[in-house]
């Protein structure tokens, strides 16, 4: 791809991008959200048409009219939102659109055998071709989609953040599959925020920023901090700011806390003015703990005390008690995608936005202004729909809701998942400011509980970290006594060289 440009109205989404991917290699495409990676890949896979520039594929000029055209040329894209028909069987999904037929009739035996071959190729032998896709795990569904790409004979495979919803084990499986596909001569474009993954898997990389390519090279020749500074356009001096904080009174306390299925046993105290992190594997029960604390899932037993309040409560009560939750799933749960920033941001506290119980839209939008400026949220105005924003800005809206609500206790579930480094840095800075408070304006410090699967982040921003292992929460220990290594060991249940074995 050379000098590819794409314009939407007056704004350039891509202004001259060069990208070269060779067969039998894994090429990382890196950049912040909004840098134009997705636009570029949509141009490659035919969803958009380039306004200028040239694309060549196997020496031939290449200009796909639509995704189907691209697919028939051998360019397949695997999006984060999987493109599968959940009610259909695995084999039908793999051969959708290219079914072997006899006249108008399906040839089921052949469908089955082709699908089985594709499944074997992606290492999904445990799943039968007849299984219904909607009943498989996300990881298996992703492999089914790759199997489909293999079955249509793809030559370029684009993977968009493929590991964002996978467990460690599934990630390892995916990596070995990507390596196998590479040996077969398939060119792979790997889009990711996780530079560790890029280092582990990719041969070359291209960095994009503001719709342009700003750097490329061999992964093993360029140090990570160089790549990061290419991404953000400046040296990241300190991604994780941490002021000296003064934890004060206890605002949240739970003992022998157990949810309907998870967590099985959790005890924790959270003080005003501190950031506590919860580490652990996906599925260990961290999200479930936050959700049952917040009344979104039933509590089985245990004692919870939040400020002056005791016991279980509905989400509505929790908000009233000054607790706010940012969901890990901002797309479907955290935000109402087609509503405006203002509607989303003020949803939990609409009082005072108009006379009596009425709401004046102008006042609603005005109430958002300070937060839009302070975080900052990149948008046209507060009336813009949330779905138009990039992931990082959406996440800032989700967090700003807690600020507008003036919550005291922030429950943040994977607050930086799938967002760019720039937004991450802003969110880390915000968390630090919140935990510190601002005596000059009389803002009291907040208490913040963060669930994250990204260990450097937890180690960077937290005062204390507790590890959840198969539903059991260990003791929250000062961050200084943890390392990435010991956190990982504790998360997988091997406590041998953890700093001090957490009581179970």
């Amino acid at each position: 791809m050379q000098g590819v440009q794409k314009r939407f109205g007056a704004t350039y989404a891509l202004r001259g991008v060069d990208l070269e991917v060779s067969a039998g290699s894994v090429h990382a495409l890196i950049g912040e959200n909004g840098a134009g990676k997705s636009t570029l890949m949509k141009t490659l896979s035919g969803a958009y048409q380039a306004d200028a520039g040239e694309m060549t594929f196997d020496g031939q000029p290449y200009r796909p009219a639509n995704p189907l055209d691209a697919r028939s040329r051998g360019v397949c894209m695997i999006y984060q939102e999987l493109a599968l028909a959940p009610d259909l069987s695995v084999m039908e999904n793999i051969l959708l659109g290219i079914e072997p037929t006899w006249g108008p009739f399906m040839r089921w035996s052949e469908t089955r055998s082709i699908a089985q071959r594709a499944l074997n190729e992606v290492g999904l032998e445990t799943v039968t071709p007849e299984a219904i896709v909607g009943q498989l795990s996300i990881a298996s569904q992703q492999l089914v989609e790759i199997a489909r790409a293999v079955a249509v004979g793809c030559k370029i495979l684009v993977l968009d953040e493929p590991t964002s919803s996978l467990t460690q084990k599934d990630v390892a499986k995916l990596f070995s599959l990507v390596r196998r596909l590479k040996e077969k001569g398939i060119a792979i474009v790997y889009i990711s925020h996780a530079l560790e993954e890029v280092q582990a898997l990719c041969d070359r990389f291209t960095v994009m920023r503001d719709g342009e390519t700003v750097g490329h090279g061999r992964v093993n020749e360029v140090p990570v901090h160089r790549i990061i500074s290419m991404m953000v356009g400046r040296e990241v001096a300190d991604l994780y700011p941490r002021s000296v904080r003064q934890p004060t009174e206890v605002v949240l306390e739970m003992k022998d806390f157990a949810g309907a299925s998870l967590p099985r046993k959790a005890a924790l105290t959270l003080h005003r003015g501190e950031v506590v992190g919860i580490a652990g594997l996906i599925g260990a029960g961290r999200t479930e703990m936050l959700r049952s604390l917040f009344g979104l899932e039933p509590v089985k037993s245990g004692d919870v005390r939040i400020g002056a309040f005791r016991g279980e409560a509905s989400p509505g009560r929790r908000w009233a008690q000054g607790v706010g939750l940012v969901s890990e799933d901002r797309k479907t749960e955290g935000l109402a995608q087609n509503l405006s920033i203002a509607e989303n941001l003020t949803l939990t506290r609409l009082s005072g936005l108009g006379p009596w119980r009425f709401i004046r839209p102008s006042r609603q939008r005005a109430a958002c202004k300070p937060w839009i400026d302070a975080l900052p949220i990149k948008c046209r105005d507060a009336g813009q729909a949330v779905e138009d924003l990039s992931g990082g800005n959406q996440q800032k809206v989700a967090i700003a809701r807690l600020l507008h609500h003036d919550a005291d206790i922030f429950l943040l579930d994977e607050p930086t998942r799938g967002i760019d480094v720039g937004s991450k840095a802003q969110i880390y800075a915000l968390i630090d400011r919140l935990a510190l408070g601002d005596p000059s304006t009389g803002k009291k410090p907040k208490a913040i509980l963060v669930v994250s699967s990204y260990l450097p982040e937890l180690l960077g921003i937290c005062d204390r970290i507790a590890v959840m292992t198969r539903g059991i929460l260990g003791e929250a220990l000062p961050v200084a006594s943890w390392t990435e290594h010991s956190l990982m060991l504790a998360a997988t249940g091997q406590t041998s060289d953890a700093p001090s074995s957490p009581p179970v």
Partner: protein
């Protein structure tokens, strides 16, 4: 994360879901058989014949609706299309005596012409639905809400807002008016009225169509995830067009049967609200209104349940409003049970 390592669980679940519907059907039947006063004759031959006639109409129409709903659409015009096809049949038969010499000289031609005309008209309604949904990308609910009104109006226009009574010397012995003629008892050949056999044949064909043709599988794919279907090169628009057309044709067949059911009369104000019974039958049969799921066999059971409920309510001497409340409640409960089961599965 438990994964089905082979297809046995989902297979057995499907069988179980089917068995549950059969049990529900038997329960509904027994409920009325036991509770209806003997004198009302719920289980009598005459009433069984009556129910078979109702079932033939609802079930025939529901076959087409099943396809539409599987493909993620809805066809609210079904009831009006039934009426329009019925009126067309009566209208053409009525033309006979006034027709040209060649028509009067070959009376066996008239019913064939009438059927062809009815099917053409009904197919056209289906085609228009399909075209509006595909070419203008309109929402099926709105499109068919509109064509529902238009087809009803057209039926009244053609019938001049009156019932059409084709002369009995024309209709009297015609096969078309005798589609629902009672077979003497259920135990003597041909066991069931011709129209019921036709429904069974159509249901079988539709089942095979859904399972064994590419178009049938594409209907599922489009209903389950339309974007994916587009990406994979499924001719989405053609698939949608086809299901609406097919739905129109099945409504047409249902209209012809309805004509026979009324004893050879065209009544433009009949079959009002039938689309709701038909949709209810499809949903009770296990289809998802979100698309991607549904079986013709399930729909047939749904149609039986709906018809028995309607008939049984009358036989019990329930007032109209009680019947309506019960009918509504049954639909809600059926869907609720289905949802609960699905939730447990995932």
């Amino acid at each position: 994360m438990s994964e089905p390592t082979d297809s046995a669980p989902s297979q057995s679940k499907r069988v179980l879901a089917f068995a549950a519907r059969l049990v529900a059907l038997v329960c509904v039947y027994l409920f009325f058989a036991v509770l209806t006063p003997g004198s009302k004759g719920f289980t009598s031959d005459a009433n069984t014949q009556l129910m078979l006639q109702d079932i033939a109409v609802v079930a025939m129409c529901a076959i087409g609706m099943t396809l539409v709903i599987i493909a993620g659409g809805i066809d609210l015009s079904a009831g009006s299309t039934i009426a329009l096809a019925m009126i067309t049949t009566a209208y053409v038969l009525n033309l006979g005596p006034k027709g040209a010499e060649w028509v009067r000289s070959s009376p066996h031609l008239m019913p064939i012409l009438a059927v062809l005309a009815a099917m053409t008209v009904a197919g056209t309604v289906g085609l228009i639905n399909g075209l509006l949904v595909t070419s203008l990308r309109m929402v099926p609910f709105i499109v068919t809400l509109g064509t529902m009104q238009m087809a009803r109006g057209l039926a009244k226009l053609v019938a001049n807002e009156q019932n059409i009574y084709p002369p009995s010397d024309v209709v009297g012995d015609l096969w078309i008016a005798r589609l629902l003629d009672p077979a003497r008892t259920v135990f003597t050949f041909p066991f069931l009225p011709a129209a019921v056999w036709l429904v069974i044949l159509c249901a079988l064909l539709a089942s095979l169509f859904l399972r064994y043709t590419r178009l049938g599988r594409h209907a599922f794919a489009v209903g389950s995830n339309e974007k994916t279907a587009v990406l994979c090169g499924v001719p989405v628009l053609r698939t949608k067009l086809a299901v609406y057309l097919i739905s129109g044709l099945f409504s047409g067949l249902a209209g012809i049967i309805f004509f026979a059911r009324l004893g050879g009369i065209g009544q433009p104000t009949e079959a009002i609200g039938y689309e709701l019974f038909v949709i209810a039958a499809v949903v009770i049969g296990g289809a998802s209104l979100l698309g991607g799921r549904g079986t013709v066999l399930g729909t047939m059971i749904g149609a039986l349940i709906i018809t028995i409920l309607r008939n049984g309510g009358v036989k019990m001497g329930w007032p109209q409003y009680t019947q309506e409340i019960v009918m509504g409640a049954v639909i809600v409960v059926a869907v609720a049970i289905d949802n609960l089961r699905n939730r447990r599965r995932t």
